[in-house]
Symmetry: C2
Subunit: 399 residues, 2 copies
């Protein structure tokens, strides 16, 4: 893979935010005996290097009643060396869609000689293991894990921790193009290979996001992302005193982290999860509030934003509906940050009023926060899970 070098980097405390890097060539060929002198602005990441990182990476696919054809396409695009972890919240009653997903995954793993894990979000064993290990932030009143993609992501992160992976990447199950999934994983690995800190994050920017409605329309950025990024940048600007447009991936569903970073972040429920990750990083390591983890602060945190070659084509979930559902929690996570100044708060209120998503005397809702995975008693959790891990293997036959 050939990719632009980070051309510009902004620092906020010990956080280094790299500007967008465009993928230039999906497949950059063999290692040359005499490495070519690359342009200073371009990096070739050799396939062997990418594979080294893929081996240490889990790809978490949160899914819920997704079309099986799409689910099958997504898993078959994940590079072979990555461990696939499916966290499904699909229905089990009447039609057992979870069983169907497991069958698809099992067949795929059988034919391709690979291992994968699949776990249901309402699995009582993992809920109990979490409770016993003192981590209850994602449990509901029924003592099972709550619904929601963010909760599924946290479950996937815990599984990746038990599987002793170093990196965890998230990919949505509603993607029409296996080839795009493949590229996301390559971008994650490439980003980590460029990182100098063990605390790093790669966020994907889609080249285009085609919108299907009466013909085809390649919308450069979704409306929601545009507004989220503007407010996030306002928050940074107000702290540094310098106008910035550095954040271009505030809502990136496709993103990956080193587990060392993933473990120490505070998450948020629902659509606030992706912007909240950035907010947690800025709060913890932005140099404005006290640094929460001195070691991490010393290493610094690196954020990469990678623009893919492939466009993103996914299931459409409707317009105004989506706007309210995504925008409100996204901006809520920024609004309620202790870093958020009055100017940014006003901007957020203005944006929400303009989109008719709040009344004039309302504020966006406070995000429901989820404690960092590291607060768990990992030894205890691993102990309880150990005897059940085999049952989550896609190749394991249920009796």
């Amino acid at each position: 893979m050939r990719i632009e070098s980070p051309g510009y980097t902004e620092c906020l405390g010990s956080v280094r935010i790299n500007d967008v890097q465009q993928v230039l060539e999906l497949d950059s060929g063999r290692v040359k005996e005499l490495p070519l002198r690359e342009d200073v602005a371009v990096q070739k990441i050799e396939e062997e290097v990418i594979k080294d990182f893929e081996e240490k990476m889990a790809i978490v696919i949160p899914t819920k009643d997704e079309k099986l054809e799409l689910f099958e396409g997504v898993i078959s695009g994940v590079p072979h060396e990555c461990l696939i972890i499916v966290v499904s919240n699909s229905q089990r009653k009447r039609v057992d869609r979870f069983r169907m997903e497991k069958d698809v995954l099992s067949q795929f793993c059988h034919f391709t000689h690979r291992e994968a894990l699949i776990i249901h979000q309402k699995d009582p064993i993992i809920a109990r293991a979490l409770a016993e290990a003192g981590y209850t932030d994602i449990l509901g009143e029924d003592e099972l894990i709550r619904d929601g993609k963010a909760e599924g992501m946290v479950v996937g992160t815990f599984i990746a921790m038990i599987a002793k992976k170093d990196f965890v990447g998230f990919i949505d199950a509603d993607n029409y193009f296996p080839g795009a999934v493949w590229e996301y994983a390559k971008c994650y690995a490439s980003g980590f290979s460029m990182a100098k800190s063990p605390y790093s994050m790669v966020r994907i920017l889609w080249r285009y996001k085609p919108k299907i409605s009466a013909g085809m329309f390649f919308n450069r950025w979704g409306r929601v992302s545009e507004i989220t990024n503007r407010c996030m940048n306002s928050l940074i600007s107000n702290k540094t005193g310098f106008e910035t447009e550095i954040i271009k991936t505030g809502n990136a569903g496709e993103h990956a982290m080193s587990l060392r970073l993933a473990e120490i972040l505070t998450y948020a429920s629902g659509y606030a999860v992706e912007p909240q990750e950035l907010i947690s990083i800025f709060e913890g390591f932005g140099g404005i509030l006290p640094m929460v983890h001195p070691t991490t602060a010393k290493h610094g945190i690196e954020i990469f934003q990678t623009q893919t070659m492939n466009p993103h084509l996914h299931e459409e979930r409707g317009g105004q509906h989506l706007l309210v559902e995504m925008l409100l929690p996204s901006l809520g996570s920024i609004y309620h940050s202790s870093l958020c100044g009055d100017e940014t708060k006003r901007l957020i209120i203005d944006e929400l009023l303009q989109q008719n998503t709040i009344q004039s005397d309302e504020e966006p809702p406070k995000p429901r926060l989820i404690a960092p995975p590291r607060t768990i008693n990992l030894k205890k959790f691993t102990e309880v899970m150990a005897k059940y891990m085999n049952s989550y293997s896609a190749l394991e036959e249920e009796e």
Copy 2:
């Protein structure tokens, strides 16, 4: 890449037609020290093997006034080891779109350290070189190369011959997904790696062909392909006496051939080109008419049909219009073959009447045939072209 083994093969004389093989895994990972025992139905094609074939392969991209964004995406999806040959028939007057394509290609090659060739279909030098070498079948009355994708493909094949490649693959420039382009090239290489004969062909079957019109509709096969395949299979059935459905890629625009095969085939102008390739193979080596090339007949010809993992998403060119424009010449190539029996002719007439593409007393038009590239005086052609080849390099600066 993991791909199904050819599960079923039909023979017609010395032609072996393999049934569709599904791609199972885009990226099948590292070479294992101890190769796993693959299922009998599955083959893993190692990346190094694929790259060996890519190095010997030219990817010809015929284009005409295509959106530059799409053109750029397509070239950037072609694996690094392949030689890109663009044959453009884009406008040069008013807006010099050809120049813009060359600039895009040149920039891409500069950043990715690769070589590519780009030639205009109306280039007077190649037209003169063809004439001097006694190959006039694609020249018009103005002594330039005629318009048309088939003519562009033949030009590309000639350039691949001069560049001393062993394989030539065709990819249309109107593809929205660089990742799909990447997969086509991998499928070509995988197919050639499985071939036992030096005369081989790989034809791509799209997993789905999404049709964009008031929402998204994944049409399993295009209507045109469906009819072409039915008529092609009827032609075969009537010769062998056995009902068959083996041909599923009669109209495959995405296809590749060993140059040894490409050189000896008779082509047809316009949309007849892809079905005519099969017809030429059946006529020449199907064992019904006299074998035209005894050596080739001895080796046999192998046809692979590969179903991709990625769907195909391309520029929509309109409905009824396309049907007439594509169906008529496609079926014409079958109808006018000396292999075509009365039953198949009746079927073709019925299909065309049903689609309102002919009147009741009409026949489909005879395809305009193009002699095999091997009929050229290659020595002469190469001599004339030699001093100009540099000027077709994407990295060459025009003065």
